[in-house]
Structure formats: structure tokens, C-alpha cells
């Protein structure tokens, strides 16, 4: 066996390859381009095109961190809290609002009032400018049209307690996670803790299908395994687009109204690129982005007039719940504690 492959040479080659590879990693390269780190809990399929457009229009490179569904919308929020003393992110673009309010309370955010937010209703903008809401979604009852006729659609949340609709035919996600928890907190804020707790207790007593995640509810309804379930408009629009036999039913049009969940965007305190961060916030609050988010199917209630058309655009005059985002936030912890006792026993 004749072979020329000395030990020293082989180890030197190996070490050189490792070092060269590490040196050539993107982090180790000198980079003079302007950049910005954006943490976003908005699904990548919707947020990535917006980030790319921002890069194209401004020349500022966006370094995103996306959340994943399994993190129950809180993964990035906790990362932001952990990194509070040496922040990595410049901007947080959240698909909902509760966790953003939590970040404000924890001192993670910095104030910035964007000029592009002037026509957004005051209800969706933090008075001190720590966050701005835009591009709303709504909570909706998804109904299987093969199993329920339009005349039999429930009209109110409280109709879900009606014997007309068997408990096992109604689906909800665990109301201690995600937007189902937000909806519960909103109900606590609007009708009071006692009544809201009683409502969820009765739902549980009726044996409603409580499952892990809104996407499970969506699939159960669209496959006809249950009659109806509470989901978000983006989930509902997804299955409507696929041609499944389902329809959206906006509960509470004659009583409490429908919960509207805006996206929120905020500047991070101590951000490394605050100017670029402000530019990004101005950009996502522009009408151009509002239109794009409607067209892409992420937002269905743009909170202000838009020119975009979508097969799932919802009547802008839909009656929203008469409750402030701050009041909902205040009820989140008490409602989660209550509902964990009811549903996670």
C-alpha cells in the first residue's frame, strides 16, 4: 500500500478548512451596508415579501428572525425579554398585540411615533408611541356549509351554549394560548370575570372539542368532522381559498361585536440601528404595505381604507368589540389562570 498523505498535512488541511469556512461565514465578513434586524411573529410566507420589498426600496439589508407556529406566538417575545440588556433586534413586528403590550411593560420597547400612522384609529395606537397597530385580522366562527345551513348559523358567542349545536360538534383551541387566549381576555374585559368564567366553564361542560392549535380546529371543520369552530380570519380565508365547504360567521354583530386583532410594530430600546428601524416602521405602516398585506391574505380588516382587492376582504364596517387593547391585556393573566384551571386539568 503506497500512499502519500502525511498526518501533519492532513491535520493542517483539516484545520485550515475549518478556519477558512468559519472566516467565510456571513457574520465574519466586513459589511458596510446598512442593515436592520427585524424579529417578526408574522408567518414567513406573508412577512418575507414585505421585508424583501423594503430592502429593494431602501437598500437597507433586513436580517429577519421568524417565529414558528409551534412557539405559540411567544417565542420571539421571550427572546426579546432575554436579550433586553444587549438587544439583537431593532424592530419587532408582531402578528398580534398582547405580547407587544407586555414588552412595553417590561421596558423592552422605545417610543417612536411614525408620520404614517396619522390615519390609523387612535384605539390601535399607543398614546406614548411605544407601538402602533395596523393590518387587522378578526376572530371568526368557521362553519362547515355541508353540516349547517346559513339560517342556522350562530349569531353570538353565547349561542355556542345552545343545545341546538352539540358540544362535540364545536371546536376551539386551548384558550390559554395564542389568539384564542386573547379572545378570552377580551371577553373577560367586556362582560366581566364572573360571566366570562361561567361562559367557558359551560363550554367545557358541554364537551366542546378543545384541541392544540387553531389549525387543528380549521382542519376539523373543513373536513366535516365538526360543524363549527373558532379560528382567525387568515385561517378561515386559507381554507375558503382552497375551495373547502366552509364559511365565515362573524359572531356578536348584534351584541358584543367581533374581536379585531391588529398587527403591531415597535422599535426596540437600545437598538443598534434605530434610524433604519424607524424607516422600517414607517414602511410597514404605509398604505402600500397595507394593500400588500390584504392582497397576500394576511390582513382582512386593514383598519383604514385601502385600494386592494382580495377574495377574502371583509366588510370594513364590521362591528368590532368595544374594548381597548390595554383592557384586554390587563385581563390576559387572570383569564389564562382561570382557563388553565378549567381546560388543562
Amino acid at each position: 500500500m503506497r500512499c502519500s498523505f502525511p498526518l501533519i498535512k492532513s491535520f493542517l488541511v483539516l484545520i485550515s478548512m475549518v478556519l477558512l469556512s468559519i472566516v467565510l461565514l456571513p457574520d465574519c465578513q466586513p459589511d458596510n451596508t446598512k442593515k436592520i434586524v427585524v424579529y417578526t411573529s408574522v408567518d414567513q410566507v406573508f412577512s418575507e415579501p414585505i421585508l424583501k420589498l423594503f430592502e429593494k426600496e431602501t437598500g437597507i439589508r433586513v436580517m429577519p428572525v421568524y417565529d414558528v407556529e409551534a412557539a405559540k406566538t411567544t417565542g420571539l417575545v421571550n427572546r426579546l425579554i432575554t436579550e433586553k440588556n444587549h438587544p439583537q433586534a431593532d424592530v419587532f413586528w408582531n402578528g398580534e398585540f398582547v405580547q407587544t403590550l407586555l414588552l412595553k411593560e417590561d421596558g423592552v420597547l422605545a417610543p417612536y411615533k411614525s408620520p404614517n400612522a396619522v390615519d390609523i384609529p387612535a384605539k390601535y395606537v399607543d398614546p406614548q408611541g411605544y407601538w402602533t397597530g395596523f393590518a387587522g385580522r378578526a376572530r371568526v366562527l368557521l362553519v362547515n356549509t355541508k353540516l349547517v345551513t346559513p339560517s342556522d348559523y350562530p349569531q353570538s358567542m353565547f349561542d355556542l351554549l345552545n343545545d341546538k349545536y352539540p358540544g362535540k360538534q364545536i371546536g376551539i383551541a386551548y384558550p390559554v394560548f395564542g389568539s384564542t387566549a386573547t379572545e378570552a381576555a377580551a371577553l373577560y374585559a367586556v362582560i366581566g370575570q364572573e360571566k366570562a368564567r361561567a361562559f367557558y366553564q359551560q363550554l367545557n361542560d358541554r364537551g366542546v372539542r378543545v384541541v392544540d392549535g387553531i389549525s387543528v380546529v380549521r382542519n376539523l371543520v373543513s373536513s366535516g368532522q365538526i360543524m363549527m369552530g373558532l379560528v382567525d380570519t387568515d385561517d378561515a380565508c386559507g381554507v375558503i381559498k382552497q375551495g373547502e365547504p366552509v364559511a365565515m360567521d362573524f359572531l356578536g354583530q348584534n351584541d358584543l361585536g367581533t374581536l379585531i386583532i391588529p398587527n403591531t410594530v415597535a422599535l426596540i430600546a437600545g437598538a443598534s440601528h434605530p434610524d433604519e428601524g424607524k424607516k422600517f416602521i414607517d414602511f410597514v405602516l404605509s398604505r402600500e404595505v397595507a394593500n400588500l398585506l390584504v392582497v397576500s391574505g394576511w390582513s382582512h380588516i386593514p383598519l383604514r381604507p385601502v385600494n386592494a382587492s382580495s377574495n377574502c376582504l371583509i366588510d370594513p364596517d364590521i362591528k368590532g368589540m368595544n374594548v381597548s387593547l390595554q383592557d384586554i391585556y390587563q385581563q390576559l393573566q387572570p383569564s389564562q389562570k382561570d382557563l388553565a384551571g378549567i381546560f388543562l386539568k
Binding site: L14, S21, I22, V37
Partner: protein, 546 residues
């Protein structure tokens, strides 16, 4: 009669003091990187409990919803393991005899598909089920489930079938041909199969079942994609929701205990894998005569295996559409593709010297062999998300050199997860090296480097190449730990695919999956060639003919 078998002591090569020091340093680095994340989390438990969080201890004993989740996860992993072993034995008992010609290569082709990430199978099979359901509905039959337990079980089984077959083959090929011949002289082939062959191969089959069980128990990617909640996902969700590493560790405790028990019971036989001298000798000089029912089941298993290969390829190729569409897809994800390949190459390169040092320490250390083996295989019981959480706990602080938030984090995650596999492969290679060759070389050598470069390294090369290949392909598909530690702006291809997969099959995802599968296939073939002793292909450029 005096035994002629070589003991560990006989096999022990001469080791100079500096070689010993380097080995120990390698072992220390292995422990720090691979076991470090778990050790750091364990170290935080007592301070957390002293701070008054004693109620967190309740997480160690799951009740209510979490108990049901744990039982469901065990049931899921158990079902995948049992069905995987059955398919492995049935398929393996046919492939076992495919020793020569094109069939000899074909059986290895099945095994090189093993590292294709489960989510690619998930995409392929869910797309196929949708198509089949359309046909079923047209003829008035009920649709197959697209989501849920049965779908998750089938996809997981399909993604792990190559591993099941591979480990069954190792068990069957390790049997001495003389034993099989002896059994056949006295009883029928089927009696020999049940009373001699399977009992002798049982340790390897048990190890195969253990591996399938562990992979199914710790991985949440397939269940989460088909809406089946499992306990490993709960750990990730718990950390995401509360940001308390200790809570995540305590929640993972039942899973760790179960996984370590399974490892100790089932994986120990792998310690001596590939030591058999019969590995390259045909076990059957005259083909066996099986009863018809067994032949039927064997072919059924082979058809399932064929489906495991054909369905992903056809489904993904169909979904990709045109070549220009594929080019657009690749272009959109070029950053993730480059980053993934880069990370995987670095992880493979770093794992080699560390794994070589640990493997030498394990194979040639008389006193500590079992302990080092335990250190090597225990990390396989750590849920990937726990490794990610541990890494965050270690590195998310101010250091002179910034590691947190950089590309070094996914590199550390890759090493922590896959260095044990490299150790096992290199250790198996070290055990197969005949020490008499080394002794002979020492007599004639002009210096020790000559023995190293001309004898030792060429014999070791198949193991090194196979280890590098295995670590590379596993790192490309890593999700659980990387998801938590990926730096801003630098996602891997797997994360991108996983994020997009939640919106169902699309040409974009199919294109990415197809590209990932092809990359893994190429590297897998290279690793398989190395494993089957054909590494001289790669050595040729370095060999100087005199």
C-alpha cells in the same frame, strides 16, 4: 483450546504521551460541547428551587393533559418502532441475500435515503394522500385521513424505514454463515429462521427498534406538520411560552428518563457492531426455501420500501412543475442553501478530530470503555429543543468573543447533536482494523509517521469519510435545536421549508425539498461507498504509484 480472538489489549496500538493528551483533550471538548447544554440546565435546577420555585418540580410528573400527551407520544413511538422492526426484518431477510452485482448496490441505495429529513416525507405523503382522496371521492369512497395519528405514524415509519432496514441488515449480516448452515442441516429453513437466526440477530433488531423509538419520541417535526401534538413539542412550546430553561428541563425529565432507559437496554449491542468477520461473506451458499406466506410478506415489505423511495421522488418532481420554476425556487432560497451547506461542512469537519479522539479513547481504553460509551450515547436521549435551550443558557451573555446571535450557534448545535454518531462510526472502523497490519508496519517503518500515513490513515479513511458524510447530512436536516439558535438573517433551508410547510404543499416547498433530497442522496452515496469499503475512490488522488 486456547482462544485466538484478539482482546482489546492485543488491539491496543502504541500511544505516545502527546497522543494520549490530545485524546483526552478531544474527550473533554466532546463532553463540554455535547453534554454541556444538558449539564448547564441541570446546574440551574437547585438555584431555581432555592429561589422558591419548588412548585416547578410538579412538571417532572406529568398529569392531566400532559400525561395523556406523554402516553400518546409513547404509543406513537412504540407503534413506529414495532412496525419498523417488522418491515426491517421482512425486507432485510430479502436484501440480506443481495450480495453481488447490481442488487448489492441497490440495497445500499435504500439505506442512503435514511438521512432525508422526515418533513420531506411529510410533504410528499400528504400531497399523495390529497391526490388519492380526489380519486376516492370520484368513485364514492371515503377519504384517507390527511391529518392525525395514523398519518403521522405512516409518514414517520416511511421516513425511518431505511434505518430499520439498515439495522436489520447489520444484525443479519453479522451472523456466522457456519451457524446458519448447521441449523439448516437439522431443520427446515423457516425453523432455522425463527429458532436460530432471529434469536441471534435479536440484539441488533432490538437496537434497531430502540433507535426508531428514540427518533420518533424526540422528534416533533412530522407530528406537528400533521397536527398531532406530542410531548417533545410541548418542551419547545413550554420554553417559548415561559422562557424558563429549568422548567423546560423539568418538563423534559420523563422523556429523558425513558430515552436513557431505552438507550441502555437497546443500544449496547451496537457497541461491537461491524466487528464480525462475516460482514463481507455471503451468509447463504444455497438459497433458503421459505413458505409462501413469508415470501408474500417479504415482497409486501419490499413494495412498501419501494413506495418509500418512489412516492417522495414522484410527488416532489410533479409538484415542482417546470425546470424554470425550480430555478426560481432555488434562487429565492439561495442564501439559506449556502448557509446550510456551509454550516454542515463546518460541523462535519469539526466533528472528525473530536470524534476520532473519543473513538480511540473508547476503543483502546480498557478501564473506561463502558463509561465512555455511556457518555457517547447518552446525548442521543436529549431532546433537540433542550440542546438549543442549553446553548442559549450558556452563550446568551457577554463574552469577549460574541458567540450568541452568530452563525457559531447552529454550528455548536450541530456538533452537540451529531458528534456521537461520528464517534460510533469511527469506533466501528477502528475495531475493524487488524492490529497485525500495524505491527507488521512497525517492524519495517523508518518512522511512526510513515506507518500513520501509509497504513493507519488509509484503513481509517472509510470510517472518517462515512462519519463526515453522516454528520453532514444530519446537520442539513437539523431542526429542533437550530430553530432556537439561528442568528438573525441566517435561517437554514430546513427552517425555511418547515415554516412554509405549515401552509401545505406548494411548488416552492417541493422544489426546496427535492433539492435537499438530491443533495443528501449524493452525499449519502459517498458515505455509503466509504462504509462499504470503496473509499479508495477518494484516496486515489493522494496515492503515489511507485
Amino acid at each position: 483450546m486456547k482462544s485466538t480472538a484478539l482482546t482489546a489489549e492485543d488491539k491496543m496500538p502504541f500511544r505516545s504521551p502527546w497522543e494520549l493528551i490530545l485524546q483526552r483533550i478531544g474527550l473533554l471538548i466532546f463532553i463540554l460541547i455535547v453534554l454541556g447544554p444538558l449539564l448547564v440546565l441541570i446546574a440551574q435546577v437547585i438555584p431555581a428551587l432555592s429561589a422558591g420555585h419548588t412548585e416547578w418540580l410538579k412538571l417532572m410528573l406529568p398529569t392531566g393533559r400532559r400525561l395523556i400527551l406523554l402516553l400518546n407520544s409513547l404509543w406513537f413511538a412504540g407503534a413506529v418502532a414495532v412496525s419498523g422492526v417488522i418491515i426491517g426484518v421482512l425486507g432485510g431477510s430479502v436484501l440480506w441475500r443481495w450480495d453481488t452485482g447490481w442488487r448489492g448496490y441497490l440495497r445500499w441505495l435504500i439505506i442512503v435515503l435514511a438521512p432525508i429529513p422526515p418533513y420531506i416525507h411529510a410533504l410528499a405523503w400528504t400531497s399523495t394522500i390529497y391526490t388519492v382522496n380526489t380519486w376516492l371521492q370520484n368513485i364514492g369512497l371515503p377519504a384517507l385521513p390527511v391529518q392525525g395519528w395514523v398519518t403521522a405514524w405512516w409518514i414517520q415509519l416511511m421516513s425511518l424505514a431505511p434505518i430499520a432496514i439498515g439495522l436489520a441488515l447489520i444484525g443479519l449480516k453479522s451472523l456466522e454463515p457456519a451457524i446458519i448452515d448447521s441449523a439448516r442441516m437439522l431443520r427446515s429453513d423457516i425453523a432455522g429462521l425463527f429458532r436460530v437466526i432471529l434469536p441471534l440477530a435479536a440484539p441488533a433488531l432490538l437496537a434497531g427498534g430502540g433507535v426508531l423509538f428514540l427518533l420518533s419520541l424526540l422528534d416533533y417535526s412530522v407530528p406537528s406538520l400533521v397536527n398531532l401534538n406530542v410531548y417533545s413539542l410541548e418542551i419547545f412550546a413550554e420554553f417559548s411560552a415561559n422562557n424558563q430553561p429549568v422548567r423546560a428541563l423539568l418538563l423534559a425529565f420523563p422523556l429523558l428518563v425513558i430515552a436513557i432507559t431505552v438507550i441502555l437496554v437497546s443500544l449496547s449491542p451496537l457497541r461491537n457492531a461491524a466487528q464480525s468477520s462475516s460482514w463481507r461473506v455471503p451468509n447463504w451458499k444455497v438459497g433458503p426455501v421459505w413458505p409462501k406466506w413469508l415470501v408474500f410478506l417479504q415482497w409486501l415489505a419490499l413494495i412498501v420500501l419501494l413506495g418509500q423511495i418512489v412516492v417522495p421522488l414522484v410527488s416532489l418532481t410533479t409538484a415542482v412543475g417546470t425546470l424554470s420554476g425550480m430555478a426560481t425556487t432555488v434562487n429565492l432560497a439561495h442564501k439559506e442553501i449556502i448557509f446550510t451547506l456551509w454550516i454542515s461542512v463546518i460541523v462535519a469537519l469539526i466533528c472528525l478530530p473530536i470524534a476520532y479522539a473519543v473513538a480511540r479513547e473508547m476503543v483502546y481504553s480498557r478501564r473506561w470503555e463502558k463509561l465512555i460509551w455511556l457518555v457517547v450515547i447518552t446525548p442521543l436521549a436529549i431532546p433537540p429543543s433542550l440542546i438549543g435551550i442549553g446553548l442559549i443558557t450558556i452563550w446568551n451573555r457577554s463574552f469577549p468573543i460574541q458567540v450568541y446571535g452568530t452563525s457559531l450557534m447552529p454550528i455548536l448545535a450541530g456538533i452537540a447533536r451529531f458528534a456521537p454518531f461520528a464517534v460510533m462510526v469511527i469506533a466501528a472502523q477502528l475495531r475493524s482494523i487488524n492490529p497485525l497490519l500495524i505491527d507488521a508496519a512497525r517492524i519495517l517503518q523508518t518512522n511512526r509517521w510513515q506507518t500513520w500515513k501509509q497504513i493507519w490513515l488509509p484503513m481509517l479513511m472509510p470510517g472518517l469519510l462515512a462519519a463526515a458524510g453522516i454528520v453532514f447530512v444530519l446537520t442539513t436536516g437539523e431542526l429542533g435545536a437550530t430553530l432556537l439558535v439561528a442568528p438573525p438573517g441566517q435561517a437554514t433551508l430546513t427552517i425555511r421549508i418547515y415554516n412554509f410547510l405549515h401552509y401545505g404543499a406548494s411548488s416552492v416547498v417541493a422544489g426546496l425539498c427535492l433539492m435537499m433530497a438530491l443533495t443528501i442522496l449524493i452525499v449519502g452515496i459517498i458515505a455509503a461507498l466509504a462504509l462499504t469499503g470503496r473509499s479508495n475512490i477518494f484516496l486515489k488522488p493522494f496515492v503515489r504509484q511507485k
